[in-house]
Symmetry: C2
Subunit: 353 residues, 2 copies
Amino acid sequence: MDAVVARRGATTPTVIDVPRPEPGPGEALVRTLRVGVDGTDREVLAGTHGGFPDDEDYLILGHEAVGVVVDPNGTSLTAGDIVVPTVRRLPATGTNDYFERGQADMAPPSMCRERGIDGAHGFMAEYFTSPAETLVEIPESLAPLGFLVEPVSISEKAIEHASASRSAFDWQPESALVLGNGPLGLVTLAMLDGYDRTYCVGRRDRPDPTIDIIERLGATYVDSRETPVESFPTVHEPADFVYEATGHAKHAIETVAALAPGGVGALLGVPESWAFEVDGGDFHKDMVMNNKALVGSVNSSAAHFRAAADRLTGFPTWFTEALVTDVVGVEAAAEAFANDERTIKTAVEFDTL
Amino acid sequence: MDAVVARRGATTPTVIDVPRPEPGPGEALVRTLRVGVDGTDREVLAGTHGGFPDDEDYLILGHEAVGVVVDPNGTSLTAGDIVVPTVRRLPATGTNDYFERGQADMAPPSMCRERGIDGAHGFMAEYFTSPAETLVEIPESLAPLGFLVEPVSISEKAIEHASASRSAFDWQPESALVLGNGPLGLVTLAMLDGYDRTYCVGRRDRPDPTIDIIERLGATYVDSRETPVESFPTVHEPADFVYEATGHAKHAIETVAALAPGGVGALLGVPESWAFEVDGGDFHKDMVMNNKALVGSVNSSAAHFRAAADRLTGFPTWFTEALVTDVVGVEAAAEAFANDERTIKTAVEFDTL
C-alpha cells in the first residue's frame, strides 16, 4: 500500500510502498480517509522533533487521521465505524504508570512513543492498525473534517488545564490572546467564543487569509512587528487567558507579562534551546503579586478527542472551509507539507466514504 | 494605647502612643493578644515592600494578629470571641470587582490596601478595629497560637491553587520540595504530611534549629550551597510539588527544572527586579513537553483562614513549640523583629486571655 514517509537524511516526504499492516490482538484495521499536516510534521521532516522507529530507516508520517474500521478483529468496534486514533503509544520499555492510569498524555517524552512523530509509524498510509481503545468514534457526518479532531483536542486539553488552574476561585475571564495565527492558533481562537474580547498575534501583511479569519471570528489582529507581545497589555489590555502556539522561546516569559491579574497562560509551542537575558525578578514578582498561573500542555487524551468532535460540529462552515486550504491526493502528498502564506491547514486524502 | 510602628526614614520599629480606635459602622473593637512577625514586616521596615497610609508619617506594623472581641458594636460577633483578622481592605479609590466578589486576595496591589503592610495601619497595638466580616473566629484553645493562622492561610491558598492547577487529571503527587527554611517554609513542610517524601532547602550549617525541625518532620534537608536547586532533581528526585518561599529571583525558573513531569510549582516569595540570562527555550520546552505548571500566590481569604485554624489544631505540639522561638512583651517589641540564626518565628504579646 502507499505510505507517505520521512526517510533518514531527507527533509521532504516520499511516497513508498509498504505492506498493509495486520491487526494484532485487540487491534482493529482502519482504512484511512484523510490525514492532516501540521507544524510538528514539518519539524519531524526537518529532523528537529521526534525520531524514527528503532531499526527503521523511514517513519510513516501523520498523526491527525480519520478512517473507517474495515476489520474490527474481535474488538468492540464495528466495520464502518468512523474513527480518529489518539497519538501516544507504549514505549519500547513496556507499560508504565501513565499508561496504566489512562494518562498517556501526561507522560514525559521518555515514557511514550508518538505515532507519526516519535518512534512509531504514523497514519499517513492507505491502512493502519491501532488498539481499539485508542480509536475514538466520531459521527459519520464529521468524517471529511475528522483530521481536525486531533489538533482541536490539543486545545481542548490546554484550555481544560488552564481553566482548572483557575478553579480555586470564581474566575470570570473576559479577554483572551492567542499567540500565533497558524492552524492551531486559528482553531483555538474559534474555540474561545465565550470570551468578550479576543486577540490573535501574527506577523503577516494584509491582505492575508489568516487575518481575514481572525477578523471574521470577531477577534482583533495584532501584528507583533508593530506591537510586540510585551507591549500588548498597554496597547490593548492585559488578557485573562493567553494561549502560546508559536514556540517562540521568549513567549513563555512574555505571556506572563501580557496576563491580567489572576490570569493564566497556556504554553503549547516547543522551542529549541535559547539563552537570553530576562528580568527574572520582575517575572517572579509579577507571578506572585498578581496571582498569575502558567500551564504547559502537550498531546491529549481520548476524552479530549471526544470533546473535540463535539466542538468541531459547532464550528461555522465558513470557518472550516477557510481553514482547510488544501486536500490533496497521495500522489501530491508533498504539496500538503508546503508552508506558504496561502496555506493554512492541509490534508492528504487516501479514500472517501 | 501602645502601638509598634514603622516611621518614615527609620528601619527599626518604635513603640508610640496612639489613640485607641473607635469602631465605625459594621466594625468590631478587638483587644489584641499576640501579633506575629514575618519577613514581610522586615521588608516593610526596610522600605522595600508596601507603604505608609496616605498623609501619615508612621504605619502601625503587624498583619498576623489574634485578639478578643471587646465591643461587637452591633455586628454578628460576641464579646469574648477569639478572632483573627484578614489583611486586605478596600483601596482609597473605593470598592472594585475583587472585593464585590469576595476575592480581595486575588486583587492586584493597586486595587487593595494591606493592613500593616501597604497603605493601612496594622494590628500591632493594644486594640484594633475591623469590619466584622474580616474577623475570622477561631477556637479559644487556639488563642495562644492564633497569630500563626495568617501565615498558615497563605500556604492553604497556595496549596489549594497548586492542587487546582492539577485537577484536570488524576494527579498523585508523592514528593515535595520546599525552597526556604524560614517560618513559612517550615509551616508549609508541616502541612505536606500527605507526601511520601519531602525536602526542604536552606543555607545553614548544623547544628541548626530549622534543620532539626525539618528532620523531625521526616523531611530531607538540602543545603543549597552543596546542592543548588538546579541540581536537586538529579541528586535527589524531581519533585511533584515545589513551594518557593525565599523570593530568590532565579527560583521561578529553577522551580520548573526541579519539577517532575505533571508537577506544579507555587511561587510565594517576592523578589526585586534582577536581570540575568536564562535558557528560555529550555524553560518553555520543559513546561510544554512535561505538562508542568506554575502558580503565583499572594495573600489569602477568610476561607483560607478557617482552613488554617483547622490545620493548626493538627500540628504536633513539639512543632509549634520549636517553631515559635520568642514571644516578647510590647516593651521588647524590637527584639521580635531581630532575625538571627536562633530566631524562627516570633510574636509580640499585648495581653492574655
